[in-house]
Each structure stands twice: as structure tokens, then as C-alpha cells.
Point group: C2
Chain length 204, copies 2
Amino acid sequence: MTTSTPRVTAQGQATRARIVSIAAELMSKQGVARTSIDDVRGAAGVSASQIYHYFGDKAGLVRAVIGFQIDATLDYQRPILDHLDSIEALEAWRDKAIANQRARHCEGGCDVGSLASELVETSTETRQDLMVAFERWESPVREGLRAMHARGELRADADPDYLATALLAAVQGGVLLTQIRRDTTPLRAAMDAVIGHIRSLTTR
Amino acid sequence: MTTSTPRVTAQGQATRARIVSIAAELMSKQGVARTSIDDVRGAAGVSASQIYHYFGDKAGLVRAVIGFQIDATLDYQRPILDHLDSIEALEAWRDKAIANQRARHCEGGCDVGSLASELVETSTETRQDLMVAFERWESPVREGLRAMHARGELRADADPDYLATALLAAVQGGVLLTQIRRDTTPLRAAMDAVIGHIRSLTTR
DNA sequence: CCTTCGTTGGAATGTCAATTCCAACGACGT
DNA sequence: ACGTCGTTGGAATTGACATTCCAACGAAGG
């Protein structure tokens, strides 16, 4: 069975996409709680009824924003993210993350991490959305380390999955401290430490 | 010059302290934005005017809560925090952090980190309060690693300050992922990775 | 005993924000 | 051309929330 009648027009999709994109930007800058539907309405140049038409309520819009931000983050880090299977690739990833923070003047933190911190405890469904988002992020990191492991570049007793989790945690914690200090040193320190640890597990 | 007339009674101090303590608990559970003055008022069993009398406005209460939480965190981790000058001590710190998360069922994240993430971008003063809070946290970690370095237990080319920052970032990122997954593995992974890196820098 | 000032209660105010409602509009398939 | 349904506008509603105000209360010092 094919899609008989599209429930939404191309025009509707465009409007919906614009709303999500602008909501994501506002929520990244000011946080979810401080971003009102009316803020989004004004910035997107739409009427309130459209937002409720497409998303049901604010929680629905927030869910869409979570999806949007994780997509944007993964797109931004690709293609590096798909080949994190060498120390050099990990260092390139680190450098890209640092450059990104510098470009933002260390403001706003991690789009996905900020959403996560603000929303984890709101509802079980939201928390699961966030779990899925981070799993999508961690997955390619894990695959890269597994490839190194399979190739014998990592010692047999090293655990690629565990290391992938540590890397992601280093990014999150590093970005938070970087945001607070307005200085990229913490992000660099955190990623350097975990990458250094991985290096110490290589079979050179 | 001594304090001529105390502007606040012992009774007043007690009331103030109770308000801060209860506000901290509520804000830890629900976040700052979702904690209304009226919530605090009800839970503390005081009238609204008292909160405004002692804190001026909600921002003032939030500042007091930041101070309260960093004090509580440091008190909780002491005396470990004051002697982080060996791999064993670092591991004990890690174990205590993990046990704490487990006791909370991995809910709520880090009290200080959650406040930080929610409030960093609200105002320059708040961000500076947070910088001070994290500096107070990082300082003893740094001192411990410096002691190891001075004793020659860390290689000369190791940078204790940089490593201290990485440790704190690992805690923050690890706790965030732990909160999202409701599983202490990420916190353990993150701290293990950085501690492992430090171990690889020891002169054994 | 009296005055002062910190303390407390509780109602009142005004703003802001989420959500609903209804009517109009227009694209698209028949 | 016509009718259906997705789309849009904008006003109206409802509730929550931060903050203010004023009056009463009580402890501590003179």
C-alpha cells in the first residue's frame, strides 16, 4: 500500500520545517523554558494555530526540536563521525569540536546536551527520546573504535564500547565547562585525556 | 568595628536557611524554571513576603541555591576531595560518585551541573557565580594532582591542572549520560578513562 | 514599659504564556 | 467548476506566576 492521500501539503511541510528550525535556534539560545510559543510564532512569521496544528502542543514541538538538533549535530560532524577508527581521526574530531565552540564564542553549549539537561526529568517519553538521540551519536563512535579493535590496533582487553561512552561523556562535560568558563580549554582537556587513554591502549 | 546591631535575628537566619534548603531540593528535582515561588512557599511553610524579604527576588533565591548546592556537594565529597593525591584516592572518589548516583536511582543528575546548564546563559553575574562554584570544586582536585606531580609520582611533562579539569569534565559528562540512561555505566566509563590516562602518566 | 525594627501573613495586582476556537482561505483531486 | 480538507489568522480564554502592599506581630534593648 502506498501513501494514498498525503495528509500534509508540500507547503505544509515547509511551514512545519521552518517552525522547527526557528524553534531550535531560539531554544538553543534561551533554553526551552524561556522560549514561548509566541516567541516562535513571531520569529517564524506564522500564527499560533499553525504551531498547534503541526505539533499538538509545546511538548510536541520540543520533541521535534530534539530530533532536529541531533540530526543537525550528526550532519555537522559527518563525515568525520563515520570514520573514527584511528587516533588521528579522533584528534580531528576533537579539533572540529573545539573549533565549533570557538566559533560560537563558547556560548550556548552543546545543542543536544543542553536540551538533554533541561528535559531529562520532564517525562519518561522525553527521556527515551534523548536516549535514542545519544545512541545515534554514540553508535558511529563505537563502530570506529570497534573497527580499531577488530584490526588489532587496540589491545584485546580494551573495551571499545566502554571507551565510546567515555568519549561522549568527555564531550558533554567538556563543553559544559567550556560554556561556563567561556574558554575551550576544558573541552580540549577532557577529550585529550580520553583520547590519550585510548592511545595508551593501542598496540604500537 | 564590630557588628553593632545584627540586621537579622537568629530566628530570621533559621527561616532563611530553611527556605534555601527546600528551594534547593525542589529545584534539583524539577529544575529552576519549573519551581515556582509558590512551590517553595508551600513546601517551606512560609509566606511569600518572607522569601522576598530575604532574597529580593527569584534570581536572588537562585543565587543562594547555587551557593548552597556547591557547599553541599563539597561537604559530601570531603574528606576524599582533600586528599586526591593517589590513584587509589581517585578511584575511591569515582566509587563514591557512582554509589551516590546509584542511591539516587540515577535521577536528578549533578545538583551543581544541572543548575549550571540551566542558568549559564541567563546573566553574566550568574555565570560568574557558577565559575566560582566550579573553581571551588576543581581546586582541591588540582591540589591533589599537583602534590603527586611535586612528589614525582606523575611524569614531569604531565600537567596536573589540565588533568584536574579533565576529571571534572568527566564527572559532569558522565553524570549527564548516567541520568539519561538511568545507568551508572557512563559515569564509570568516563571517570575510568581519565583516571586510566592519569595512571599511564605515573612514574611507576 | 515602651519603642524600634526585624519578621510574618495573606490578599491583591498585573503580566505573560499556553491553549482553544471559529471563521476564512486556498490548493488539489474529481 | 466544485467540494473536501489542509492551512492560516487572530481573537478569546484560562491559569500560573512573580511581585507588591499593607497591616499585624513579637523580640530585644533602653
